[in-house]
């Protein structure tokens, strides 16, 4: 929400803190300031600063307005706010609008009066009003609409004005009839249902209550007489309708967060005062005020030592009281010095203050959370019991990583499954996965393509995760292996078989149930998936978590890897037996340097050596890859030529 620094200043005689300082105070005592924009005047100097403040739901009862935000300045600094009550304007015309409320639980207060705006009518709002609204990013519409908006951003009470001559018969706040239509101010037509609240006249809906006005009784340049409305509506009903039709507005936002019914009279008084100042000939009718149930004032009674206890800081009752009194909370103390007891009377607008914990927060944030000094909870005599699921899963992870398997965590939302989400992010993410195997299969596939790059003969991975069936959620383990380097008589499944045997051996003492791992069926795609639930159920929870022997976590910084394809090249060099592999490699490296290709060699390894007739052959595998582009064969051929050249200079033979 945009808040103007100049506007805030109008609530105080004293100079309020400068924008930067104010932002800091708000951040540590009230709410976040998400941005600040300086507004330049005609002379190029800074005329105003607008702060974008983030008001969360609790403070939204009283802080979605300049007055609310100004009150925070007063709470924090102790500066006194001006008395800004608008004078009451007496009725000089007799007419009063007829109005009927169908549901007093929904329409909690309804104030209206006629205003004859007279002949002296400016075509645009006065400069000060224009400056204020434009600073916070509001468009100027017409003086009457601008006044309504101003009152809302000033004190937080949404206002509405009808063209009185366009209203046929009497007003009624009622549920819409199924199929009733309304054309909104922006031209959109809504077809309403019997769950939506409207303000209607004898001909039909004029306003979608609390959210958006309709075109039929819209104020125009020729409007002579208006009905000013200041009302209060039940939050969740406004919210349901505004959400359903996507017609959230600054007005519905305030009703949805709930504001006090008491504010309506202030809204009416302020709006009328402004109308009179802009339209000097305006004549006002009597105020019709339908107020079914005036709210009871909230009273919180408690032992105030609770404040100190919960905050964990030393703060005197006197200091707490001062903070609360700045908030216009009436503190009456009935207990004794040794056994204090407080009765707090809460201002109507502070709908966020209901229980004593709310008071702890008010004192805490204004006093300053920087006073809190950390302490640790008391040591326990006995270490807590191990959580069987956690213990088992972590132990499996230890065993499998020791077996050379790496852990992956894949996506839960996938293309197919048994449990479907209502509004999927994408068509291929509409379901919660019903197994781990599908994800694991494509994960194996993708990683197999990078086996050379990773320097792996086999891709070995596992995942432990939740899967979702029609009526159950299970924790599964999937292990996947893909032997990339072909070996006669050796299959990917053999890698998994070994892992399962180890799991069974290492874990058998922890369970009463046997064969959970060793009897699991390995699928032909080199994946096994096991439901861990029986293992968890039969787990003997006597284990100390320290047995898990967590290794220190990696402190490595992530290095970006190339997303372009790589090229593999092998080279075998025949050299006299006395020559070491390192010497051969440094000659190869020289060649790579000659080709200015240092940055392109991602990995190399000596993968084969053999001796023959007093000579030795060293075979190296090199992986070339660029961070910026796809390497071409001819580029790598160029590098190989330079390498061959260097090797030949040494008098060695490239095989």
């Amino acid at each position: 929400m945009n808040i103007s620094h100049n506007w805030l200043q109008t609530y105080f005689k004293e100079k309020i803190p400068a924008p930067e300082k104010l932002a800091e105070l708000f951040t540590f005592h009230s709410f976040e300031v998400e941005g600040m924009i300086e507004i330049k005047g005609e002379n190029g100097k800074i005329a105003d600063t607008v702060m974008d403040v983030k008001i969360l739901p609790d403070m939204a009862h009283y802080c979605l307005s300049h007055e609310g935000v100004a009150s925070e300045i007063s709470f924090i600094t102790g500066m006194k706010m001006n008395d800004r009550l608008a004078p009451e304007i007496k009725a000089t015309i007799k007419d009063e609008p007829k109005v009927e409320i169908e549901d007093p639980k929904f329409c909690r207060r309804y104030m209206i009066r006629y205003v004859d705006i007279g002949s002296s009518r400016p075509s645009s709002s006065p400069d000060w009003l224009k400056c204020s609204l434009e600073a916070i990013g509001q468009r100027m519409i017409s003086p009457l609409v601008d006044i309504s908006n101003y009152v809302m951003y000033d004190i937080g009470q949404p206002m509405h004005a009808f063209d009185a001559d366009k209203v046929k018969g009497s007003l009624k706040i009622r549920l819409a009839k199924d199929g009733e239509r309304i054309t909104l101010l922006d031209g959109r037509e809504l077809i309403l249902t019997a769950k939506d609240n409207v303000i209607a006249d004898d001909e039909g809906p004029l306003v979608v209550t609390g959210a958006k006005g309709g075109r039929r009784a819209e104020i125009s340049e020729t409007t002579k007489k208006i009905i000013i409305e200041s009302a209060n509506f039940e939050p969740s009903a406004v919210r349901r309708t505004s959400t359903k039709y996507d017609i959230r507005s600054d007005s519905s936002k305030r009703f949805e967060n709930e504001i006090t019914q008491e504010l309506a009279s202030q809204g009416m008084a302020n709006a009328c005062d402004l109308v009179r100042s802009v339209f000097p000939d305006a004549k006002f009718g009597p105020i019709v005020d339908i107020y079914p149930t005036k709210p009871k004032q909230t009273v919180i009674e408690f032992d105030p030592s609770y404040i100190e206890e919960r905050l964990g800081v030393e703060i005197s009752l006197e200091d707490s009281k001062k903070i609360l009194e700045r908030m216009d909370i009436v503190v009456s103390s009935t207990g004794s010095a040794s056994k204090p007891f407080w009765k707090l009377s809460i201002p109507y607008k502070r709908l966020d203050l209901v229980i004593k914990e709310d008071i702890v927060e008010e004192v805490g944030r204004i006093y300053g959370y920087d006073h809190v000094i950390g302490i640790l909870p008391m040591k326990l005599k006995q270490a807590p019991d191990a959580n069987p699921t956690f213990y088992l899963c972590e132990k499996i992870k230890n065993i499998l990583t020791a077996e050379g398997f790496s852990e992956v965590i894949l996506y839960t939302l996938v293309e197919k499954g048994m449990v479907e989400t209502l509004k999927p992010l994408a068509r291929d993410k509409a379901f919660a996965r019903s197994d781990l195997t599908h994800g694991m299969a494509s994960c194996l596939e993708k990683n197999a393509l990078n086996a050379d790059l990773l320097g792996l003969e086999a891709i070995k991975i596992f995942e432990i995760g939740h899967i979702f069936k029609k009526d159950s959620e299970e924790i599964h383990l999937a292990i996947g292996a893909r032997q990339v380097k072909k070996v006669k008589g050796f299959k990917s499944e053999d890698l998994i078989k070994r892992a399962l045997e180890t799991l069974e051996k290492e874990l058998s003492s922890d369970f009463s149930e046997n064969g959970i791992f060793s009897k699991a069926k390995i699928q032909t795609n080199g994946i096994v998936e096991i439901d861990l639930s029986p293992a968890i159920k039969s787990f003997k929870p006597s284990k100390d978590v320290k047995d898990l022997d967590f290794r220190p976590a990696s402190v490595n910084r992530y290095l970006r890897f190339s997303s372009y394809p790589f090229i593999v090249r092998d080279i075998a060099v025949f050299v006299p037996e006395s020559i070491q592999a390192e010497e051969v490699w440094s000659s190869i490296e020289k060649g790579i340097k000659d080709a200015s290709a240092n940055g392109l060699l991602t990995r190399h390894s000596l993968f084969d050596t053999f001796k023959k007739e007093g000579k030795i052959s060293y075979a190296f595998r090199m992986i070339f890859q660029s961070m910026e582009k796809t390497l071409t064969d001819s580029e790598v051929n160029g590098i190989m030529e330079k390498i061959n050249g260097e090797v030949k200079v040494e008098g060695w033979e490239v095989r």
């Binding site: 077996e403 919660a432 290492e506 910084r557």
Partner: protein, 258 residues
């Protein structure tokens, strides 16, 4: 255990890599275990009751807007909880806080637990947002719990995670399930940066009495503290990872770096 030999070369096989999320969970777990916190794991498919109602987030309340939820199609909405309460519709859990009341229902006071789990938000994904991520949520219920305890536990944890120089500060905030609520900043000097910076990483507070009541705990006798943070962000900060999607891509070029 015998070292494993490669079927091809006969060389010893190198150990595999644990996912950096697991590694960080273990660090957090170890730090909190020292203070007597045991792990609690909740379901990922949750009831509306535990995810919202029990956490003092009424229906049609603006606080429900604070998270975009994945609701699940056509699952029975007639299930009831241990106190006979309606459990409502099913959803992919949006917050580990959902595990709080579940834990209170099944354990007796005092409580020290840390809920760890995958959570889901219906948000467009990019380098810093994922529809799935991990949360960690310690909960401590005892007699006379205060914000000073909250700060103490946070300091202990974040000094273990970010080193002894890490500092903690509170700013006012709002969560329906805590009162008072605070936003927690951690001061940390990233490797390669010359100055430490304040990072907003944790939401915290004292457990709201309504939540204790929902868990069958008398708030006049017991109080609690709770905080929650996104694990992915911590992992990303610690390792300098610039794209959250790397965590769930299953790419060994990434995982083998840790």
């Amino acid at each position: 255990m015998n070292p494993i030999k490669s079927a091809v070369t006969g060389n010893e096989i190198k150990a595999g890599h644990l996912h950096p999320i697991t590694q960080t969970i273990r660090e957090i777990y170890s730090a909190l275990y020292e203070l007597g916190f045991e792990v609690a794991l909740g379901p990922e498919l949750e009831y509306e009751y535990y995810n919202f109602d029990a956490l003092n987030i009424p229906k049609d309340h603006p606080a429900r807007d604070m998270q975009d939820t994945f609701w699940v199609k056509g699952m029975s909405a007639s299930d009831r909880g241990p106190q006979g309460q309606e459990l409502g519709r099913r959803l992919l859990t949006t917050q580990t806080s959902a595990g709080q009341v579940r834990y209170m229902e099944t354990h007796s006071t005092p409580l020290r637990t840390v809920v760890i789990g995958k959570v889901f938000r219906n948000e467009a994904t990019d380098a810093t947002h994922e529809a799935q991520f991990y949360q960690v949520e310690p909960l401590y219920v005892d007699k006379k719990v205060s914000l000073a305890h909250l700060k103490g536990v946070l300091e202990h944890l974040f000094k273990k995670l970010f080193g002894d120089k890490a500092e903690i500060r509170f700013r006012p905030s709002f969560f329906p399930f805590t009162e008072p609520s605070v936003e927690v900043d951690v001061k940390w000097q990233k490797p390669g940066e010359s100055e430490p910076r304040w990072l907003e990483v944790v939401g915290a507070g004292l457990v709201h009495p309504s939540v204790l009541k929902a868990g069958g705990i008398d708030p006049d006798l017991w109080q609690g503290l709770a905080f929650a943070f996104g694990l992915d962000r911590i992992v990303m900060l610690k390792h300098g990872i610039d794209d959250i999607r790397l965590l769930y891509g299953g790419d060994l070029r990434f995982i083998h770096q840790f």
